[in-house]
């Protein structure tokens, strides 16, 4: 069983804490979904977001601080160090953005920052693509978890490159993987878990739903279904119909 740096989660769902209509709605989304991990950004608050961070801490879940909005390894490393100090966790979701519009990760800066942070004792969750060469470099750097994207952040497109994600999953059987970014519907989350991914992380799909708490619950149910399906051994696809009851000898015309 793959875990997240020694932590197993009761539900494979991680929720972001941005873009909700209010902190009260965010709290309701966590309560109603029982999501056990919250990501929180340190970037935009200029070190003065204490009241909001306290609310996030008050959720009583595992905190996964992130380096959202960082465009260089150096920025990301500094933000990670601030996050560790403030939230008292070695977990860090490492984002090094390479492109301001697509929010695509910068693979070079990502590896550089991952090496530095792993060496410094962080437990790094890198936001990456489905690229296997990059994945190998991140694992070499010391990452025991990978967070490949489903689709660009906030796009809600679901799993854009099924083949790429499936090969990535197969290539690193011992590495825990979280599908991060791009999920729009609970069915996307179920699909990711059915494929053997270990969790999903999402924010916009819940925060911008008309009823975020109910949508968070819908994702929680989908995560349970997907994880249960993966554990139950999916039958796989066949090219021909296989009737469950033989038709020979039956009056089937």
């Amino acid at each position: 069983m793959r875990d997240f740096y020694g932590t197993t989660l009761p539900l494979p769902l991680m929720l972001g804490t941005a873009r909700y209509p209010s902190p009260a709605v965010m709290e309701a989304a966590f309560r109603q979904s029982a999501a056990p991990v919250a990501t929180v950004s340190l970037r935009r608050e200029q070190g003065a977001g204490q009241a909001f961070w306290d609310m996030v801490r008050g959720l009583g879940v595992h905190l996964l601080p992130n380096t959202a909005g960082c465009h260089s390894a150096r920025e990301a490393i500094t933000t990670a160090q601030m996050a560790r100090e403030y939230f008292g966790t070695n977990w860090i979701k490492l984002e090094v953005i390479g492109h301001a519009d697509t929010l695509q990760p910068d693979p070079f800066g990502l590896v550089e920052a991952a090496e530095a942070l792993c060496a410094d004792g962080f437990e790094v969750f890198p936001y990456t693509t489905e690229d296997q060469v990059l994945a190998a470099r991140l694992v070499d750097a010391g990452c025991r978890v990978l967070m490949p994207w489903g689709a660009p952040i906030g796009s809600g497109l679901g799993l854009n490159n099924l083949h790429g994600l499936r090969s990535l999953r197969a290539a690193f059987p011992d590495v825990a993987m979280v599908i991060d970014a791009g999920l729009g519907l609970p069915s996307h989350a179920a699909q990711a878990l059915e494929m053997g991914f270990d969790a999903v992380l999402l924010n916009t799909a819940v925060a911008e739903a008309r009823d975020p708490a109910a949508m968070a619950e819908a994702f929680a149910l989908a995560c349970r279904a997907g994880a249960l399906a993966a554990a139950s051994g999916p039958m796989g696809q066949r090219d021909m119909a296989v009737p469950s009851t033989p038709v020979i000898g039956k009056a089937w015309l």
Partner: protein, 326 residues
């Protein structure tokens, strides 16, 4: 001798004074900095009276009470009734559909309707929503007019640092973030705004430009002056506007109308909005003190209704729907 002491002369305190006078209460209004100015967050407001647009992300009470705000403000200051135009860049058309699904009181606009509404935007935007019932005002003028109306009714703002415990009799505490020691659930949400002079551009009503990451509104202040707003950041920092926020607001304005590139930047401002966890303004009763706080981004929209309910409580001991548990 007064029946009630109001502490804080921002938009909440001024309205509280007006509502108390209307209830026949002898009213004292104090503020440690005096009459409204850059020291208070009302000064930095947008001045949109847009209950329907705000309804996209707010509790229903903001819509129901906010709908009365334009008429109430019209008693003391000039209110422009020209509605709100909501637009989205062509790539972000889905934002417009989403906004339409979450709001009431709008009609669809095509390119022709937009051109008719705001001729300066003709040919630039093809789809939009028009909220005909909404209005706007100039917040600084409105604060001054409201202050003058109080003076005419015999209440002047006393420049005094008075703690709620030092006042004799009931208190309405309208100090915003300064009351956070008494209201642990109150938090600061930073907002930043820019004032531009763009005499080439003629827009006659607030325009909202939807964007998944950098939404913008532009409010005309007359004489070619436009207010761009506003960021919404979970932070208690009162530092000057960041370069990032300035870039975001200015590029969104440029997307709305490229002629904003030639505008003169006449002011940049940043301040803190007080907010409760649900971002809904409210009244908290603590013994003889009523806290009227958490106005968040709804100060001009919600202050009149909050003030009415607070004054009604003092005069007749009735509580309204904006009273909340702390």
């Amino acid at each position: 001798m007064s029946d009630v002491t109001i502490i804080g002369a921002g938009v909440a305190g001024l309205w509280a004074a007006r509502a108390c006078l209307a209830q026949g209460l002898r009213t004292r209004l104090v503020d440690r900095k005096g009459t409204p100015g850059p020291h208070g967050c009302s000064w930095w407001a947008g001045g949109m009276l847009a209950p329907f647009c705000e309804g996209a992300l707010s509790e229903p009470a903001v819509v129901t009470h906010g709908r009365r705000a334009a008429a109430l403000w019209g008693e003391v200051t000039e209110v422009t009734h020209r509605g709100t135009l909501v637009l989205a860049p062509e790539r972000d058309r889905a934002e417009l559909q989403r906004f339409a699904a979450r709001t009431e009181g709008h009609s669809d606009c095509d390119a022709e309707a937009i051109a008719e509404c705001e001729p300066d935007l003709a040919g630039r935007h093809r789809r939009g929503l028009f909220f005909a019932e909404e209005a706007h005002l100039n917040p600084r003028q409105a604060l001054q007019d409201l202050t003058q109306a109080l003076v005419a009714a015999g209440v002047t703002v006393e420049t005094t640092a008075l703690a709620p415990s030092e006042a004799a009799g009931p208190v309405i505490d309208c100090r915003g973030m300064a009351a956070s020691d008494a209201l642990p659930g109150l938090r600061a949400v930073r907002g930043e705004m820019i004032l531009l002079r763009a005499p080439e551009i003629t827009l006659t009503r607030p325009i909202r430009l939807l964007h998944p990451r950098h939404p913008l509104y532009v409010v005309p202040r007359g004489n070619g002056i436009y207010m761009l707003g506003a960021t919404q950041i979970e932070s208690a920092s009162r530092a000057q506007m960041t370069a990032r926020s300035a870039l975001e607001l200015l590029s969104a304005a440029y997307a709305l109308d490229p002629r904003f590139a030639e505008a003169e930047i006449i002011e940049m401002g940043a301040d803190l909005r007080p907010a409760f966890a649900d971002n809904l303004p409210g009244i908290v009763q603590r013994g003889a003190t009523l806290h009227l706080n958490g106005l968040f981004r709804h100060g001009f929209l919600m202050a009149p209704a909050l003030a009415e309910q607070a004054a009604a409580f003092l005069a007749t001991a009735t509580t309204g729907d904006l009273f909340r548990e702390d």
